[in-house]
């Protein structure tokens, strides 16, 4: 009873005071309750895929947004997870429930290796080197077709669960735990160091932070999360093929990440939840369904023009304001800060667009 009251107090004081957190709560509840209300298999399939890709996008954001390692080859980890779990469950006969963890572990190793190779690289060099990694692995996979199944990949994988609802819950619960885990990580002291590495690595090193260790760690963690999503993908579709490593997938996660807002774990997740069902819905139209990718690209372009920092931050800035004195966030409709009482609406002139870098 005490716990229940405490939970309610927490809810009232921490979550419901801010519109963004309330929105997240509503979203979580909706995700959990949806299949009980609307059990249509097609919708569940779309949402399962969305949850899987949301994990993928969140892991990319941790790497690219928080740590500044803009990874153009994130599909490497996705594919590593998918192929590992596929090979182990098919060739060794181990249950998928165990091999998905193995997939995440192998992907973490790939992350470590990729991070190691990229330690000295900066900016665009890092991005383009990471672009190369999945393509090199693809070449290797094609070179060993007996092992990897070549262009067909590995098929006939066992499912994690039989019914669409069970699969949905597996994906949704995994997504919620991983995304919240990543967000908690980003919000902790570890996350502050990641911010420091992105903003000024030399200064961070000068302050005594072993940036090497942090970079390797974050590559491994992001790799593990992406590998996990790849493993879920493989067992859901029952096929793990070279399409899990292709450039288009890497570009797709970059788009989701930046569209949703860098360095905000919720941003890319929101982007996936918005864009993936949208493109699927567009694709279901008989007449102009073939234009779905065009519509997607145009939407991205248009939204970028109005929200260059991404969708997440833009929406958040509309519904919340930051107190100038204590820097805590408040609902935008408030006139005074909920914590320190300072007036929220002060006249701050808009900074001019600077010429050059930000």
């Amino acid at each position: 009873m005490y716990l229940a009251r405490r939970a309610w107090a927490q809810l009232r004081n921490e979550v419901l005071v801010l519109p963004s957190r309330s929105a997240v709560l509503v979203w979580v509840l909706a995700l959990l309750v949806l299949p009980l209300v609307y059990g249509d298999a097609y919708v569940l399939r779309i949402l399962t895929m969305t949850c899987i890709f949301a994990i993928f996008a969140a892991s990319w954001d941790l790497l690219a947004g928080y740590t500044g390692q803009v990874n153009f080859g994130h599909a490497l980890f996705f594919g590593a997870g998918a192929y590992t779990t596929g090979l182990m469950s098919l060739k060794l006969g181990i249950t998928p429930w165990a091999t998905i963890w193995a997939g995440a572990a192998v992907a973490a190793l790939f992350g470590f290796a990729a991070g190691y190779l990229c330690l000295r690289l900066r900016g665009s060099y890092l991005s383009l080197a990471t672009l190369a990694f999945p393509l090199i692995v693809l070449g290797l996979l094609f070179a060993l077709p007996d092992f990897s199944g070549g262009e067909l990949g590995i098929s006939g994988l066992r499912r994690l669960a039989v019914t669409p609802i069970a699969n949905y819950y597996i994906a949704a619960l995994s997504m919620l735990s991983i995304v919240f885990g990543l967000w908690a990580l980003a919000d902790s002291k570890f996350g502050i160091v990641l911010h420091a590495i992105r903003d000024d690595e030399i200064a961070a090193r000068a302050s005594g932070i072993n940036t090497l260790r942090y970079k390797l760690a974050i590559f491994s963690i992001a790799g593990a999360a992406a590998g996990f999503s790849g493993a879920l993908f493989a067992h859901y579709l029952r096929v793990a093929g070279p399409s899990t490593l292709e450039v288009a997938l890497s570009f797709q996660v970059v788009i989701w990440g930046i569209f949703g807002g860098l360095a905000t774990v919720y941003g890319p997740v929101a982007a996936v939840f918005l864009l993936y069902p949208l493109t699927e819905w567009l694709g279901s139209f008989k007449t102009f369904g073939e234009l779905r990718l065009l519509a997607f690209a145009l939407i991205v372009l248009l939204v970028l023009l109005f929200m260059p920092r991404g969708l997440g931050p833009w929406v958040r800035d509309r519904i919340e304001a930051q107190c100038p004195r204590c820097k805590q966030r408040n609902g935008a409709w408030r006139s005074a800060c909920r914590l320190c009482g300072a007036p929220l609406k002060t006249e701050v002139s808009r900074s001019q667009g600077l010429v050059g870098h930000q």
């Binding site: 803009v70 190779l117 000295r120 690289l121 900066r122 900016g123 665009s124 060099y125 991005s127 383009l128 080197a129 672009l131 190369a132 990694f133 393509l135 090199i136 693809l138 070449g139 290797l140 094609f142 070179a143 000024d200 030399i202 450039v247 288009a248 570009f251 970059v254 788009i255 930046i258 569209f259 860098l262 073939e290 234009l291 990718l293 065009l294 997607f296 690209a297 145009l298 991205v300 372009l301 970028l304 023009l305 260059p308 920092r309 667009g353 600077l354 010429v355 050059g356 870098h357 930000q358």
Partner: protein, 289 residues
């Protein structure tokens, strides 16, 4: 076999050089990683195809119109899409990706997904050192060399080139010195895309034209500019020749491994980056605050 490698490597290297130099230019000056660079190359190829095959114009007219049209389109795209988000590097990145996707889908929609062939500008070939080289490929080499000389001339012998080099060197000071940096960026975009468009017109007859033709050259071109060093013309040229030779060697030495030529080139690029993190001749930008 040695002659095969020597000749094939040079010819393919020339092809890559045309694409790589434009990309390197735009990165060195405007600091934009233009993922849509090869998409403009694709647009020029389609434009050339339409004018040549459907409208039946002559080679030169079709080429000039294609290059001019695509260059103009690129400036328009820059004004509409890139310039408003110039300060947000991340946004610029996905803007160029989205732009490339838009072009791909438009071409898919207008021309369908099947492959088109553009007739060669020059028919026939010649035997050199026992290797048969079609005239079209020699044309590509000649055009690549000519464009290199033109770019060098513009950059190093004209006032506009001076402005471009100055803004590449230090954007803020150039602005302070009274140069219109926006206009300079636009001119750079036009110059860079015109190189890609020329590549589209000259190279596309050798390859097949389809809406996805921009992806493979993109990866090879990125490997080249990274290998040579972003922002360095000399580096891009050397990188292009190097990658051309690496691919030729892979195919001739390992005929059953010809499909690996892309992966080998990329692996070599990664290896070089391990030793020299800025590429062979890379320009290192000071961290701007």
């Amino acid at each position: 076999m040695l002659q095969d490698i020597l000749v094939t490597g040079l010819v393919n290297g020339g092809v890559y050089a045309l694409l790589a130099i434009g990309f390197s230019l735009i990165f060195g000056v405007a600091r934009i990683v233009n993922i849509a660079h090869t998409a403009f190359y694709m647009l020029a190829a389609y434009c050339f195809y339409t004018l040549l095959v459907k409208v039946q114009l002559g080679f030169v007219t079709a080429a000039l119109i294609s290059v001019g049209g695509v260059t103009a389109l690129s400036v328009l795209c820059y004004r509409l899409v890139i310039e408003p988000v110039r300060e947000h590097e991340a946004a610029v990145l996905i803007a160029t990706i989205a732009l490339a996707l838009v072009f791909q889908e438009l071409m898919l929609f207008s021309f369908g997904g099947h492959y088109l062939g553009i007739p060669s500008t020059l028919e026939g070939g010649v035997r050199f050192l026992g290797v048969s080289i079609p005239y079209q490929r020699m044309l590509i080499l000649a055009v690549a060399a000519a464009m290199l000389i033109v770019v060098w001339y513009v950059l190093y012998r004209t006032r506009v080139g001076l402005a471009i080099r100055a803004t590449a060197n230090d954007l803020e000071v150039a602005n302070l010195m009274g140069m219109n940096v926006h206009r300079v960026a636009m001119i750079t975009v036009a110059l860079s895309v015109s190189l890609a468009a020329v590549a589209g017109v000259v190279v596309a007859p050798v390859f097949v034209v389809d809406p996805f033709m921009w992806l493979a050259p993109l990866v090879t071109m990125l490997a080249i500019v990274v290998l040579g060093g972003l922002g360095s013309m000399k580096g891009s040229l050397i990188g292009a020749i190097a990658i051309g030779y690496i691919e030729a060697i892979t195919v001739f030495v390992l005929p059953a491994g010809a499909y690996l030529k892309g992966a080998v080139a990329l692996a070599i690029m990664v290896a070089v980056l391990l030793v020299r993190p800025e590429g062979l001749f890379g320009v290192v930008f000071e961290e701007e605050r």
